[in-house]
Amino acid sequence: MTADYGYQDPRPARITFDEWDDLFQRIPDELIEKFHYFPPNNEPWSKYLFPPQTFAIYGARHLRRLKFDNSLAALRLWGFINNESERLFRARQMGKKVIAVMGDLGPLAVIVNSFPDCVAFYPDCWWWTPFAMESKVLLDAAAQLGIGEATCFSRAALGAFAKHSYFPDPDLIICATGASCDDYSGVESLVAKMFGKVIWVETPLRICGETAQLTQLLTEEYRRVITALEQLTGTKMTETLLLNGIERSNRVRQLTHRLRSLAYENCTLPALETMMIEFGCLHYYSDITEWTAILEHLLATAEYRLKGNLPILKPDSLRLAWLTPPADPLLLPYVEELGARVVATEYVINQALTIIDTDADDPLGAIARSMLAGSLNGTSRERADLLIAQAEMRKAEGVIVSAILGGSHCALESKLIATHIKQRLKIPLLEFDVAPPKGEIDRQTITRIEAFMELVRSKRCQKS
């Protein structure tokens, strides 16, 4: 839809880089001028909706190989995501405090964003950069610092810190550890050694029960974070500020829930865009206000498609559930090319999707509880059960478990999870490691995915 902007989206379709470039020419200039980061700022330098070529020239070479949703809202999403580095440097120029939040995947950003003029960003999310840029520069930089190839691609974040050119050196670095993986804990440790001082936050596991006690422990950790931010910014954190921050985060989470549901149940958005939406809950791509506006735009688009029966993927496509986010963005569009659609996911970031209780007496405690409810803090079996519940609800016909060779948690839990899912769902399951970036999916993985799809298709045929 997007009538609000005086622009009619073409019929929903997944388009190529070149088609996006053509489409961009048809978007009125006045409309492009409307979108600015860090609103209400509307300075000319803060535009972010550009032809895809702009981002490809800046390094996002994988854009040439992906397929995209052709709605204005989705193009806005891509422009915003690809503009994050610039936005962070600009935040520094604008006098905002740039805070790196690492390792907890969700709640720390809620706290940081509750402070006026603080921008939280997740270096963790730079794990996509080697794939987006089709370059091993960041991985090589990490290797030079001691984290080599037998490690999760999240090591790219260490390379990004070392290069000093992907985001400004943060005013404060907050590193959560405990529930996060060893790979990322190692990245954090070396970042801490590089910068001299970080705030360490213990994020306990749920394993031993006693939620009240764990909540108390985590709340104290968050209090230390708040003290550090107060010292940095000179702003005293109040309950009102914190509740306001929670409400803004909850708004993002509510929108994300609705969008996931529309995408996975009603085929209104492709899987890659939906994954990027879900990951936006971690850090709002460093600008919560504009990110919320983009989500609202996406939601309006998805609801228009639902109402008009205009799915972007064929509703009768093969229904897949996906566990662990694929580091290579080529993979999700590829399965869609083969006639599948994703209907359920477990990306280990649902602590960033949990709605935080705003009626609680203690807002920090409420944030802590939302963290402790996440799949990051629990067992592999709980992760598997989360996916199973969604897969059953949406009648998934196959499951893909993607992992990272050398990723410390993948090595132990992938097999446990895969075994449990196979026993419970009794549908085909494909487990594979995402290969290092090289601009295309490696042939072996392609063969395995294609064979898996054949199997899923034949199972459907047998049933019918």
Binding site: G146, I207, C208, Q216, L217, K415, L416
Partner: protein
């Protein structure tokens, strides 16, 4: 004359296994644990028998691949394999895990999926700064362990018994520490391999018996090398009992005068405070142990390394890590750059096929130190 030989250790192990069988027959529970952060005093005070499961070899690791991916930690894979083959592992009635690294965090899930045995997973904060909320949180975990042990053994874990256990284990740790001081001398009076052997006895035998064995052996006069042997420090991932081969290989040309290995000096370092609430004392002691590399920050580990390097006139570091052991592998570069000593990095999966290449590398390293 050696302080304690490998053969003597094996005899004591065999005797202990027979003893454990007998005690199990009498209704005692054998509680296995894997990590130096487990408060053994509690297990002992509960009337159970604590036994550290610190064995690992290539064959059991391969066997473990039936349950885990090949790129999982060799020690974790080996643990699973050992439950099928190792008499000590098969004697355990229950297991206590600590969520140290990612692999050890999830190993209990793999064990419970494949081996039906009661499990307790102790949550130790990964952050090492001893803020009150963290230490208190860990103390609460210790109380949960206490309750679980009572459920297992039927015996209440009383304060007096915990104090007795603390006293006995303190004595044991102090006894090994005193012997370990012999490694600081020039030339060292004790070999690194002997210290690893004594540590092994400390977690295998009943504490008073282990102390008696130590006392007997500590009176044995030893002299291990001449002045010219380079003095090295051993650091890195867990060294299993079977890896004494590697230690002995190093000692063919060098003296291991210090280590920061969890099955070596870190296992017997320090004492639990006897004053005050024993559960609080245990929480403080185990929380504040010389940190494993996985803890954040791990500055205290580096402080300890620097202290040992100075005190024991260390000339070089042998850094032995396990394949896919991220917490230790990640430190290798920083350690090399910051300790100012030559470092030999060895990464392995218990395979013996590269033994002669390893020998060459170690010999070359030792030559370089001379």
């Amino acid at each position: 004359m050696a302080l304690i030989t490998r053969e003597e250790v094996e005899v004591l192990r065999a005797e202990r296994i027979e003893e454990l069988k007998r005690l199990k027959g009498e209704g005692k529970k054998v509680v296995g644990y894997f990590c130096q952060y487990v408060p053994v005093e509690l297990i002992f005070a509960a009337g159970a028998i604590p036994v550290r499961l610190a064995r690992g070899d290539y064959f059991s690791s391969v066997r473990g691949e039936r349950f885990l991916r090949p790129d999982a930690c060799p020690f974790c894979k080996s643990c699973l394999g050992k439950f099928e083959t190792d008499p000590l592992y098969r004697l355990t009635d229950a297991l206590v895990f600590v969520n140290t690294c990612d692999m050890m965090r999830r190993l209990p899930e793999a064990v419970s999926a494949n081996i039906k045995i009661p499990i307790f997973q102790l949550y130790l904060p990964r952050t090492a700064e001893p803020f009150p909320n963290r230490v208190q949180g860990f103390e609460r975990q210790i109380m949960l362990l206490k309750a679980w042990l009572t459920g297992l053994t039927g015996a209440e874990v009383k304060e007096e018994r915990v104090l007795t256990a603390i006293t006995q284990y303190n004595s044991l740790r102090q006894a090994i520490s005193q012997i370990d001081e012999g490694r600081a001398l020039v030339p060292p009076r004790v070999k690194g391999s002997e210290i690893f052997g004594l540590a092994l006895l400390a977690w295998l035998l009943e504490p008073q018996k282990a102390s008696r064995v130590l006392l007997r052996h500590s009176s044995t006069p030893t002299s291990t090398s001449n002045y010219s042997a380079p003095r090295v420090l051993l650091a890195g991932s867990i060294l299993t009992e079977e890896e004494r081969d590697l230690i002995e290989l190093i000692e063919e040309g060098a003296d291991i005068v210090a280590d920061v290995v969890c099955t070596g000096a870190r296992f017997f370092a320090g004492s639990v405070e006897l004053q005050g609430n024993p559960f609080t004392s245990l929480a403080h002691f185990y929380f504040n142990r010389i940190p494993c590399a996985y803890r954040r920050p791990n500055d205290l580990l580096y402080d300890k390394l620097k202290q040992l390097i100075l005190e024991r006139a260390v000339q070089g570091i042998i850094y032995k890590t396990l394949l896919y052991c991220d917490p230790w592998r990640f430190e290798a570069k920083f350690l090399r750059q910051n300790l100012g000593l030559p470092v030999l990095e060895i990464d392995g999966d218990y395979s013996q096929t590269n033994r002669e290449q390893l020998r060459t590398r170690i010999e070359a390293f030792v030559e370089m130190l001379k």
